[in-house]
């Protein structure tokens, strides 16, 4: 709302005090804001310096190269107690990315299934999906994390009474023990076959699309593509003499030897994040599909499409344009929410860095600022990636 200034030659405004001049006034307001912020910043800095001096807390980022002296119960890279805080930081960051990455994929799948389920013509399915959304959305996430961790996973039987799935996967109160798979000699052929299968499937898809556009004949590709991607490596796998070393877990004494243990902290966090976020994604998907005009559904049905085809070819592509921006928000929320890991001891960035490291070094300012910066950067990167995708699926006006 810019006010007209007096220089349009109509009539000079009557002389007024300088403070009533809108331009001077806005400059004064802004100067006042800048000065206030600067003064606050200065006070904070002075106080912080005094307080840190009084408490004998070091400052600076030197602590990154000090020995951490604590262990973590899950690490994607080798980590010993003698490693540095810097390495612990990386371990935590990777664990955050691990649980959010898997969580995003699972929550998307579950959320789409439930969102589409809520619109199902099947009355019971729609009701079950609706009940899921209402129940899960109205319970705090931390409540759900603690529920899965304390009430479900830690009340499972102990290692000796593990629930066993075909003697390969064992479920007990110390997590899931699954076979550890290591590629052996000859596995490279299987990987090559997989790559070849993917390429062939893409080529098949392109060929089928070209054929459909030219002649209108549509060739079902899905099963053939699946056979290429899954079947080809499988055949090679058998032909190469099963080139994989499976280290099966077995009980010895009071615990398992062999295999890989998936810690319950990870499982509880993943379950809660997936289930919680899926309920929000489901609502976004439902709103997106409902926003596609009804005429689109009717026209699709009139063309003789089946419901699955209608959803896949007509509704979802249009709904995605509405779904993607809020979906990005949910992905960001999931990543940020993974910091609740600290409540159950999953060693994510927050627990390792703002939890243990802060406790040991006491350098609150540096550590909390860095933690916040990392989450901000993650948010920024996710936004940029999703905006790229969004500009791809955007409606192009011709």
């Amino acid at each position: 709302m810019r006010r007209p200034s007096g220089d349009d030659g109509v009539e000079a405004p009557p002389p007024v005090a300088l403070v009533y001049n809108p331009k001077v006034r806005s400059a004064l307001y802004q100067l006042a804001l800048v000065l206030t912020v600067a003064w606050l910043g200065y006070q904070f800095a002075v106080n912080a310096a005094a307080n840190l001096g009084a408490r004998n807390i070091a400052s600076g980022l030197g602590f990154f190269s000090n020995t951490a002296g604590f262990g973590v119960n899950l690490s994607l890279i080798a980590f010993e107690e003698t490693d540095t805080y810097g390495r612990a930081f990386v371990v935590g960051l990777l664990n955050t990315l691990l649980v959010s990455g898997i969580g995003i994929v699972l929550a998307t799948l579950l959320g789409f299934a439930i969102g589409i389920g809520r619109l199902s013509s099947n009355w019971l399915v729609a009701r079950i999906a609706g009940g899921y959304v209402e129940l899960i959305r109205n319970l705090p996430l931390l409540f759900q994390i603690l529920f899965w961790y304390l009430a479900v996973l830690s009340t499972l039987p102990g290692p000796r009474q593990s629930l066993s799935i075909f003697g390969t996967i064992f479920i007990n109160n110390r997590g899931f023990v699954v076979p550890a798979l290591r590629p052996a000699e000859g596995f490279v052929y299987v990987a090559a076959a997989f790559g070849l299968g993917v390429l062939a499937a893409i080529a098949l898809g392109l060929w089928a699309k070209r054929l459909r556009e030219r002649s209108g004949r549509s060739v079902p590709v899905l099963w053939k593509a699946a056979a290429l991607v899954v079947g080809l490596p499988l055949v090679t796998f058998v032909a190469a003499g099963l080139p994989i070393d499976a280290d099966l877990p077995r009980i010895q004494g009071f615990n398992f030897v062999g295999g890989t243990r998936i810690i319950p902290e990870f499982l509880a966090l993943l379950a809660a994040l997936t289930i919680y976020t899926a309920s929000f994604i489901a609502e976004i998907v439902r709103a997106g599909i409902l926003a596609v005009p009804r005429g689109q559904t009717e026209a699709g049905l009139a063309l003789g499409l089946r419901r699955g085809q209608l959803l896949r070819l007509i509704l979802l592509p249009q709904a995605l344009r509405i779904i993607v921006p809020p979906l990005t928000n949910q992905y960001l929320n999931l990543t940020k929410n993974s910091s609740l890991a600290v409540a159950i001891g999953y060693p994510d960035l927050f627990a390792v860095f703002a939890g243990t490291t802060l406790n040991q070094t006491g350098q609150a300012i540096e550590i909390i600022a860095i933690t916040m910066a990392v989450y901000l950067a993650l948010s920024l990167v996710t936004s940029v990636l999703m905006n790229l995708y969004n500009s791809r699926v955007r409606l192009i006006d011709r």
């Binding site: 307001y29 409540f143 603690l146 209108g216 609740l340």
Partner: protein, 378 residues
């Protein structure tokens, strides 16, 4: 149409017309149509019934049928004493009830939180019903006067009331105090930020944008850590801030950024003519906003505000990580009581707290939907 060139896309002979759709009005017809109209749907229906039964029956048995209702100690909840499988151990909740509601607030002073609840309910109820008049006065009392009265009553130390330190507070009391103070404290700041974000002054605008995007980009738990561990370092060494107050500051900063975005949506929905009309009347910026724009904009965003309140109510659980005992924190603390260690304790506790959280959030979300429909109907 013999003149058309042959094409793969176009059919050249007619297909037989489809059967007219069946319309069956009976109950069986409805079941057939909505549940068993195809093989796939029938499978889904059967799976759904089996899944529901597998979930609902044990839940019902746990909560009601097999539950232990009366008792005074853990042995009353053991299968050996009861003689059958035990479900929920409700005596555990009765024993911990006061803690879950008030924390360690002294028993002789609990009339004070109760009185605050009473005042709150008396002021809130007429505010929620659209037909009751005097909304402005009501809102001023609820958002302006009530927090002060509640603060004096709860903290004490004046008017002959003994002081109750906030570290004694706990349970649902802390949950409600944090969510209510969070929303009341952050609303003015959120409105200012929303106005700032739409301001003509470039410095004010960019400062607001940075503030909003910063707090929205970081997880609440980092904000709570910031408030608990970093904020005291920024203040003069002789200032002691109470632990609960620190958390409240963090919650207010965090929630103000979210409220600013809600309010901004309302400001954007006000037609340009309203601004121009106000300016033509000669109103300055603050009077234009205060008398013309904000009253309309805030009314538009009531559903959004209620939804933010639900989110805040659920988010208060995070304070247990910085050692403030809200309902969930108090619940977790009560699990470690060896006097009540039974197989059913954990599930009972979660069921109780879950019901409280669910009922409050669900009721508020229904209220948000109701206000939304009212706005749409106008």
């Amino acid at each position: 149409m013999t003149t058309t060139a042959p094409s793969g896309f176009v059919r050249d002979e007619m297909i037989a017309p489809a059967e007219p759709p069946h319309v069956r009005a009976s109950m069986l017809g409805w079941i057939g149509e909505r549940l068993f109209n195809s093989f796939g749907n029938a499978t889904l229906t059967v799976l759904g019934i089996v899944g529901l039964a597998a979930l609902a029956w044990p839940t019902l048995r746990f909560l009601l049928l097999d539950a232990v209702w009366r008792g005074t100690e853990r042995t009353d909840c053991l299968a050996e004493t009861v003689g059958h499988d035990v479900g929920a151990c409700w005596p555990f909740i009765w024993a911990k009830f006061d803690q879950l509601m008030y924390g360690f607030y002294p028993a002789s002073e609990r009339w004070r939180p109760n009185l605050v609840y009473g005042f709150g309910a008396l002021l809130l109820a007429p505010l929620l019903v659209p037909r009751v008049p005097h909304k402005t006065l009501n809102a001023v009392l609820f958002f302006g006067v009530f927090p002060l009265v509640a603060g004096v009553l709860l903290v004490g130390g004046v008017f002959g009331l003994p002081e109750v330190e906030t570290r004694l507070w706990g349970g649902l009391l802390v949950t409600l105090v944090i969510s209510f103070t969070g929303i009341v404290g952050s609303l003015p700041l959120g409105i200012l930020l929303a106005l700032g974000r739409r301001s003509d002054l470039p410095v004010v605008r960019s400062a607001s944008v940075v503030f909003i995007e910063f707090w929205r980009g970081v997880p609440l738990i980092t904000v709570l850590f910031f408030a608990t561990y970093m904020l005291p370092l920024f203040l003069p060494g002789n200032w002691k801030i109470d632990g609960l107050l620190r958390v409240l500051i963090g919650v207010i900063l965090f929630s103000a950024a979210y409220l600013a975005e809600v309010v901004r949506a309302g400001l954007q929905a006000i037609p340009r003519g309203q601004f121009e009309g106000a300016m033509a009347l000669g109103l300055g910026y603050w009077r234009m906003m205060g008398l013309i724009i904000l009253p309309q904009a805030l009314r538009l965003v009531i559903p959004g505000l209620v939804n933010s309140f639900i989110a805040l109510f659920k988010d208060t659980t995070l304070v247990l990580i910085v050692a403030i005992f809200d309902l969930l924190g108090q619940l977790r603390a009560s699990f470690s009581d060896p006097n009540w260690a039974t197989p059913a304790t954990l599930f009972t506790g979660f069921a109780f707290a879950g019901i409280i959280y669910f009922v409050v959030s669900f009721a508020m979300s229904r209220y948000a939907m109701f206000t939304e429909q009212r706005l749409r109907a106008r």
